[in-house]
């Protein structure tokens, strides 16, 4: 069990009161993780509350409005007011609902979103709770519970809007889980590990962000991530113009807010993984020259770097939501099965081929768990990624999908019963 936990920083084990009463082992493996978890939950939940405010402010800015500005200075206390409103609202459970599942579903959704926080490397050294061997797989696995919360919530409501929303979201999330997982594999070939903290360290050793090696993978990951969190332009499960509110139509008060928190938390996690795997995590070129690596100041700075990158990606989420119109359902499915999945498979194939070629020419060498790349190797890998992988995939898929779209739009002879309807 101990291999899953990281030990406490030196300053923590030298805190006067704790050191006198507790054994260093208890301090390291029980007290320190609890402190971390408490701190992390507090920060993340506050951040989520303020993300709602940020979204409203940004949407107002995009649409040339002012946005919430009544509660507190510049509307800064708005999340607090919203939270209190949701808490004191009446908690309704529909009469025909399946009570047990109705209560459990939002909890599943929320827990699924929050558990992933445990393995994300928020910063260098002691800023991570746990650096397990299968960090990335763990996050993918746990976030697949999210679809369960949504589908059960929609089913338990016993209402047709909720059920339709749940069925839609189940199909959508299961479809987009596949390209999301496959898009990450290309990056794994460079980091050679699934442990998230080690991924960042590998990128630090190569002095590069993976997005330069994997532009296509990053693009696919980002698009499927947006679809996976049910955000616009892929927010069909809760399309308010056709489905009232989708799967959470019947939810009110605190239970609704659990779904809401789950959505924002999964957005945060999707951005955090994108930052960790593709954008170098807490690694910023040149940071280790300014500050001493391993010092407390360095760790704090690395947390700042990570937070900044994550917030930039979250801004992209908001930006897309208020700029793009909603997809039609068949377009959504076509994007997943005809574009995203073949593109991610092509990305894996091409990346592997390029890596083998580079290895044959001695441009890269693998040393244990690390790659070492020569200068020509950098140029070769980045160049092929941008010049070969992206355009080639684009052209081939475009050719194939142009034909398949033809096939779908072909004039079909109407069925006998439809024909009868038409005549009458």
């Amino acid at each position: 069990m101990y291999i899953y936990l990281l030990s406490a920083p030196i300053w923590f084990s030298k805190l006067p009161i704790l050191k006198d009463y507790l054994d260093p082992m208890v301090l390291d493996y029980l007290v320190w993780p609890l402190v971390q978890i408490g701190l992390l939950l507090f920060v993340v939940l506050t951040l989520i509350a303020y993300l709602t405010l940020a979204e409203r402010k940004i949407s107002a800015w995009i649409q040339v409005r002012i946005g919430p500005n009544r509660v507190g200075p510049q509307g800064l206390l708005q999340p607090l007011a919203d939270g209190i409103k949701l808490l004191i609202k009446e908690d309704l459970i529909p009469l025909k609902a399946d009570k047990g599942i109705f209560i459990v579903a939002p909890i599943i959704a929320m827990v699924a979103a929050l558990v992933s926080l445990a393995v994300i490397p928020w910063g260098a050294a002691w800023a991570t709770i746990s650096n397990i061997d299968v960090g990335l797989l763990f996050i993918l696995a746990v976030s697949s519970f999210g679809v369960l919360g949504i589908i059960l919530g929609g089913w338990a409501s016993n209402s047709k809007y909720a059920l339709l929303g749940a069925l839609r979201s189940a199909a959508q999330m299961v479809s987009y889980e596949v390209p999301m997982g496959l898009a990450l594999i290309g990056a794994l070939m460079f980091t050679k590990t699934l442990a998230l903290q080690d991924m960042v360290i590998n990128q630090e050793n190569l002095h590069i962000w993976n997005v330069l090696f994997q532009p296509l993978g990053f693009l696919i990951y980002l698009i499927s991530g947006i679809a996976e969190t049910n955000r616009a332009p892929f927010d069909l499960p809760e399309a308010e113009s056709e489905l009232v509110a989708g799967y959470h139509t019947e939810y009110s008060g605190f239970r609704f807010s659990l779904f809401f928190i789950a959505e924002y938390a999964s957005m945060l996690i999707i951005s955090a993984i994108a930052v960790t795997v593709f954008l170098g995590g807490w690694y910023l070129p040149g940071l280790s020259y300014i500050l001493i690596p391993g010092s407390t100041l360095f760790v704090l700075a690395s947390i700042g770097v990570f937070a900044f990158k994550t917030l930039v990606l979250l801004y992209v989420f908001f930006w897309l939501r208020w700029s793009l119109p909603r997809y039609r359902y068949d377009q959504l499915m076509e994007l997943a099965w005809k574009w995203m999945i073949p593109a991610s498979l092509a990305n894996i194939l091409l990346t592997a081929t390029i890596l083998v070629i580079a290895k044959e020419f001695g441009l890269i060498e693998s040393q244990g768990n690390f790659l070492s790349i020569s200068t020509a190797g950098y140029i070769f890998l980045i160049g092929t990624a941008f010049i070969i992988t992206v355009p080639l995939t684009w052209i081939i898929l475009g050719q194939i999908n142009a034909r398949s779209r033809d096939f779908n739009l072909r004039e079909v002879e109407p069925l006998p019963m439809n024909r009868a309807k038409k005549n009458s």
Binding site: Y21, L22, D23, M25, V26, Y29, L30
Partner: protein, 138 residues
Amino acid sequence: MINLLNHILLILLQSEAASSGVKERLLEGLFNVNINNFLVLSSLLFVIGIAGVLTRRNVIVIFMSIELILNAVNINLVAFSRYWFLQSEGKNAYMGEIFTIFVIVVAAAEAVVGLGIIIAYYRNKETVAVDEIDLMKW
């Protein structure tokens, strides 16, 4: 008070510093889990799965019981894999886990085909109860 808490936590964490009193040894003996516990657990799950397959009417629940049986086998395989890892110092130690992965893959394939059959049957006969599925052809 804090010292007592510290003591209990240390026993739980199995530190060297925990003194070896009678009570502590008793606690240690009670919470000493070896491979037998895993085998008993997996056999219980297996039997529950068998009972589910034999007694339920709903085909979907029968499929779920089959998944439970496969899962019981998986627990066995992983436990043996870990056991052999410690016995053989890492030689051939991962075959159990690899076998588990194959079992999971085959279970997924089986579930997909089975559910396809169920949907096709339901479309024709409007039932999923096993004792009403008694025609070879319709």
